[in-house]
Symmetry: C3
């Protein structure tokens, strides 16, 4: 799968799309608070690439892609510039943004878990690092802007689909590793995981499915 | 000592206890703010294992134990689940929690400094990394929940006992290294350091001993 | 250049000065909020050495200088102690602090970018890591104190001069590498870059030059 991610133009394009749309939503967070263009660029970059930086530091993949892969860096900056110019339009695309955001969670979850597995990490480490890739950038951005991070504020399913996506990714990777499925099947299944993550996220927002709180008991 | 930490069932049990009780106090912080179960699990994990992740990244111990050691991860999650179910009871255990919290500071200080020394770090680096292990998890948790971290809010001795504990740990390690004391003596002394850290912390709360502020001068 | 930074007593003294004055401004931030002496020391250390720790983690320079180089650590602590004793005087030195702060941005930008290039990083990675070194410490400090970081609050040029400084540093490094300029010339040019960064920062504050916001359009 990891190799598929690297070699398939389809996945490559989707990965840059994830960075790009993460960048849009990151830049928009800064615009809404009336910050300057530089802050917009920083938050676009951080949201698009911050999760991957955490993953790479924990993998020992030095230097992290977020400060060295020119394509990724320029993609996030392009998103920042675009949103600085076109923010009234972008701001109107509520559902579009929600879908795009969900898509980036799905793509990053599959991508992050796969990169960890390529580095010979265990399944549980891959689940952690895939989840960090999916939600890390937005979390650092919110900490920098002094907000409570979205993973905490948003009671809808946000981190749950990411975790489910990474678990499936590990499972599919193992199937391919033990030759139970072909490389092509893995490829298709990974794409399916991305779609599943998107649907879980959107369903949770649409039907108002929330993660429950701590157990409440009657005070007697 | 490091080897003692690894090989002695006594220290192993105590280490998991430290993670467990750190996890309880971390989860409780999320419950008090009415966050959902997932946030409770995240803060339990982060408080129990976040300090060790910082230590491991700075040591180059890749991947960090906090995303790869299954025993540690499950211990922190078990603490999160338990506190989500039993929080009214846990919340009542004020002094118990304070003791447990102090114990986890002491254990993590000795454990973190020892791991750094095992990686051939200098004494000063061991003091830093031991202290990070002891107070890092709670600090990241507070930053994530958008609070001023406890190491800053709490004017009682919190980080001071951790630093003292790491300094003694380095000292005892060097004694054993130069054969001035036996391995068994080191083992006992390390246990003593944990007790010392706990006593310092509790004495500071009980007798209201505070770290002084910056020098105040009469405005003339 | 990197070697110049290491070997030249001139640059060595300036680097410690940067840490020292960063430490002063960091400690002062804690004093203004009435935090205790320990918090003053932590923020002094974090402001002086936090940026370099981020740089070193991303370079794989393990352990980071901020937890292992005794000269750097003691310099930051000395700054913390000094500001705790003399804060009314330091607080009065508004322009002096501004100049010193600008100087530390310039020095850290050149120093951070050069260290990255010494580790065979690409130019773009050197720009990122040099900028992180210059602004990272203050940013972590502000996140810890639960403030919106200065890089975001300050609409004057703050991060811009740092980025410009790192770009010039990479350019000068490449010139020396391809023997277009001598080692001595590189040395002089690097000193010039530090001066340039300081002047850009001060000019931005003096003449109120701000980074523009996102494009505003007439609502029609």
């Amino acid at each position: 799968m990891g190799i598929a991610l690297q070699t398939s133009p389809f996945f490559q394009v989707l990965e840059y799309l994830a960075i790009f749309f993460c960048g849009l939503s990151g830049g928009l967070a800064a615009i809404r608070k009336n910050y300057d263009v530089l802050t917009i660029m920083i938050t676009a970059w951080l949201t698009g690439l911050g999760g991957g930086i955490i993953r790479d530091l924990m993998l020992g993949a030095i230097p992290p892609a977020g400060v060295s892969d020119i394509g990724s860096i320029f993609t996030s900056f392009a998103a920042g510039i675009l949103v600085a110019l076109l923010h009234p339009e972008v701001d109107k695309l509520k559902w579009t943004m929600l879908i795009i955001d969900a898509l980036s969670i799905g793509l990053f979850a599959v991508n992050g878990a796969s990169k960890a597995l390529m580095y010979n990490m265990s399944g549980i480490t891959a689940v952690f690092l895939g989840t960090f890739t999916a939600i890390g950038g937005g979390t650092i951005r919110d900490m920098l802007l002094n907000d409570v991070p979205q993973i905490i504020r948003d009671r809808h399913w946000y981190i749950v689909p990411a975790i489910i996506g990474t678990i499936f990714t590990v499972f599919v990777w193992r199937l391919e590793q033990y030759k139970a499925i072909s490389f092509q099947t893995e490829f298709v299944l990974d794409a399916g995981i991305v779609v599943l993550v998107v649907l879980l996220r959107l369903a949770s927002v649409q039907f108002d499915i929330e993660v429950p709180g701590a157990l409440q008991r009657n005070k007697t």
